[in-house]
C-alpha cells in the first residue's frame, strides 16, 4: 500500500502548494482538481472507496466545474494577473511559513511516536448506515442549510420581482 500511498501523498502536497502560489486563477483551480484526485486516491488506499468516489464526484467533478465556470464568466485578463502578482510579494510568505513549519514539526513528532496507520476497509453500506443512524441530525441540518440556500438563490433570481421593484423606484422618483 505504501508503494502507492507516498507518491499520491507527494502529488497531493505538491499540487496544493501550486494552488496557493499560482497567480493565474484557472491554473490554480486545475492544480486543486489534481490535489483532490490525489486525495481521493489516498482515501481509496486507506480503505474508504465510498469517500473516494464522492471526493471525485462532488469536489473534483461538480464544485470545481462550478468554480471554473464562474472564473470563465468573469473573464479575467492581464490586468488582474498583474494585480494579483502585486498581492503576493516574497516577504508575505515568511510569517505563515514559519507558523505552518511549527505545526509540521509537531505533526512529524506526533506521527513518529504514534503507531502506523493501518488501512481499515469500510464498505459503502456502513457509511450510509452511519449517516442515517448516529449522524442523522447533522445530515438533516446540512440539508436544511442547503434548502435555505436554494430558496435564497431562487428569490434573488426571480425576474418579475426585480421588475416590480424597479417600477416602484420609478414611481417613487416621479
Amino acid at each position: 500500500m505504501s508503494l502507492l500511498f507516498y507518491p499520491a501523498a507527494a502529488i497531493a502536497l505538491f499540487a496544493t502548494l501550486m494552488v496557493i502560489t499560482r497567480v493565474h486563477a484557472v491554473h490554480a483551480l486545475l492544480y486543486l482538481v489534481v490535489a483532490q484526485l490525489a486525495v481521493a486516491l489516498l482515501f481509496f488506499l486507506l480503505g474508504a472507496p465510498f469517500a473516494a468516489a464522492l471526493e471525485v464526484l462532488v469536489y473534483a467533478g461538480a464544485v470545481m466545474v462550478m468554480f471554473i465556470f464562474v472564473i470563465m464568466m468573469l473573464n479575467l485578463g492581464r490586468p488582474t494577473l498583474l494585480q494579483e502578482r502585486g498581492w503576493l510579494p516574497k516577504g508575505i510568505w515568511i510569517g505563515p511559513g514559519l507558523l505552518a513549519g511549527g505545526l509540521l514539526a509537531e505533526l512529524l513528532l506526533v506521527l513518529s511516536a504514534g503507531p502506523a496507520l493501518e488501512p481499515h476497509w469500510v464498505p459503502p453500506q456502513r457509511v450510509g448506515a452511519a449517516l442515517f443512524g448516529p449522524y442523522l441530525l447533522a445530515v438533516e441540518l446540512a440539508s436544511l442549510l442547503l434548502l435555505a440556500a436554494l430558496v435564497g438563490a431562487y428569490h434573488l433570481a426571480r425576474p418579475y420581482l426585480r421588475r416590480a421593484d424597479q417600477d416602484d423606484t420609478v414611481e417613487a422618483e416621479r
Binding site: 471525485v56 461538480a62 466545474v65 470563465m72
Partner: protein, 318 residues
C-alpha cells in the same frame, strides 16, 4: 508477476477494441443516418464503406497539428485527452460478461458517475483555452449543461441502487435475474437516458458545439488529431452510456440461448442505434429550453421516482 501481465494484456486488448469500435461507430452512424434520411452515406472505401474511418484517420493524422498563437498551449493540448482518458477509465468498470471486466469495483456505479463528471473538464477547458469568444460560449454552455444534468443523472440511478442494494455493477446485473429494472424503474430509465445523452453532448443536446450559432463551439480552434480525439471521446461516450444503460436497466449480459457476451453486444448495439436514431429524429432545443427541461421536468421526475421506489422498498414490496 504473470498476473500483472495478464491484467495489462486485458487492459490493452479492451482499449484497442474500444477505440476500434469508436472509429467503426463513426461509420455506422453515418450509414444509419443516410438510411434514415433517404441517402446512401459513405459507401466507397472498402466493402459497404466500412473502411471510411480508416481513411478519415489517415487524413487527420497528416493534417497540420496547429495550436493557435493566442491559445493557452498546455491546457489547449491537455483538454482533448481528458475526455478520452475519462471515458476509457469509466469503461474499465463495465462488466461485459460475468467474468470479463477489468475491475470489479464495489463502488463501480459511483466511479462511472465520477468519471463522467470529470469528462466535463474536456469541453470546458477546450473552450476556455482556445481564447476565442465562440469557444468560450461553447465551454460555458457545456459547463452549465454538465452541472445541471449531472445532478439528476445520479438521482435517477439511486432507484436501481435501492432495488439491487449495491453500487457494484456486476451485482446489479445479477439482481436482475427475474425482472429487468426497466420495468420497475421505467422513469429512472427515461431520465438516465436523457441525462446520458446530455452528458455525452449528443445531437439533441449538442449545444456546446451548436454549429448554426457558435461555429463549432468548444472545438472551433481544434484541428488534426486533437479534433479527432474529441470525436473519439464522443463516440466512446455513446458506447459508455449504452453499455451502462444495458447493465442498469436491461439485464446486462442476461438472456436465453445465446452466450452472455453476445447478449451484451446485441443489447448495446441496439441502444447505440437508438441513440443515433434520436439524432436523426429530434431537433436541437434552445439553451434556455434545455435548462428548463433539466431543472423543471427531469429533476422532479427523478425525485418522484426516488420517492416512489423508496416508499415501495420501505413497505417491503421489493
Amino acid at each position: 508477476m504473470a498476473d500483472v501481465f495478464r491484467v495489462l494484456a486485458q487492459i490493452g486488448t479492451t482499449i484497442t477494441v474500444l477505440l476500434v469500435l469508436a472509429a467503426l461507430l463513426i461509420w455506422a452512424e453515418r450509414r444509419l443516418l443516410g438510411l434514415w434520411q433517404d441517402r446512401l452515406g459513405p459507401n466507397r472505401v472498402g466493402p459497404f464503406g466500412i473502411l471510411q474511418s480508416v481513411a478519415d484517420m489517415i487524413k487527420i493524422f497528416f493534417k497540420e497539428d496547429w495550436v493557435p498563437p493566442f491559445a493557452e498551449k498546455p491546457v489547449f493540448i491537455f483538454a482533448p485527452c481528458v475526455v478520452v482518458i475519462t471515458m476509457l477509465m469509466a469503461l474499465a468498470v463495465v462488466p461485459f460478461t460475468p467474468t470479463l471486466a477489468i475491475v470489479d469495483l464495489n463502488v463501480g456505479l459511483l466511479f462511472f458517475l465520477a468519471m463522467s463528471a470529470l469528462a466535463a473538464y474536456s469541453t470546458i477547458l477546450a473552450g476556455w483555452s482556445s481564447n476565442n469568444k465562440y469557444s468560450l460560449l461553447g465551454g460555458m454552455r457545456s459547463a452549465a449543461q454538465m452541472i445541471s444534468y449531472d445532478v439528476f443523472m445520479g438521482l435517477s440511478l439511486m432507484g436501481v441502487v435501492m432495488l439491487a442494494g449495491s453500487f457494484n455493477l456486476r451485482e446489479i446485473v445479477l439482481a436482475q435475474q427475474g425482472l429487468w429494472y426497466i420495468v420497475p424503474q421505467f422513469l429512472g430509465f427515461l431520465v438516465f437516458l436523457v441525462a446520458g445523452l446530455a452528458e455525452s453532448h449528443r445531437l439533441p443536446f449538442d449545444l456546446p458545439e451548436a454549429e448554426h450559432e457558435i461555429i463549432a463551439g468548444f472545438h472551433t480552434e481544434y484541428s488534426g488529431m486533437k479534433f479527432g480525439l474529441f470525436f473519439v471521446g464522443e463516440y466512446l461516450g455513446v458506447l459508455l452510456i449504452a453499455a451502462i444503460t444495458v447493465i442498469l436497466f436491461l439485464g446486462g449480459w442476461q438472456g436465453p440461448w445465446l452466450p452472455p457476451f453476445v447478449w451484451f453486444v446485441l443489447k448495446t448495439a441496439l441502444l447505440v442505434a437508438f441513440i443515433i436514431l434520436l439524432r436523426a429524429a429530434l431537433p436541437r432545443p434552445r439553451f434556455d429550453q434545455l435548462m428548463s427541461i433539466g431543472w423543471k421536468l427531469m429533476l422532479p421526475l427523478a425525485l418522484l421516482n426516488l420517492m416512489i421506489t423508496g416508499a415501495v422498498a420501505l413497505a417491503g414490496g421489493l
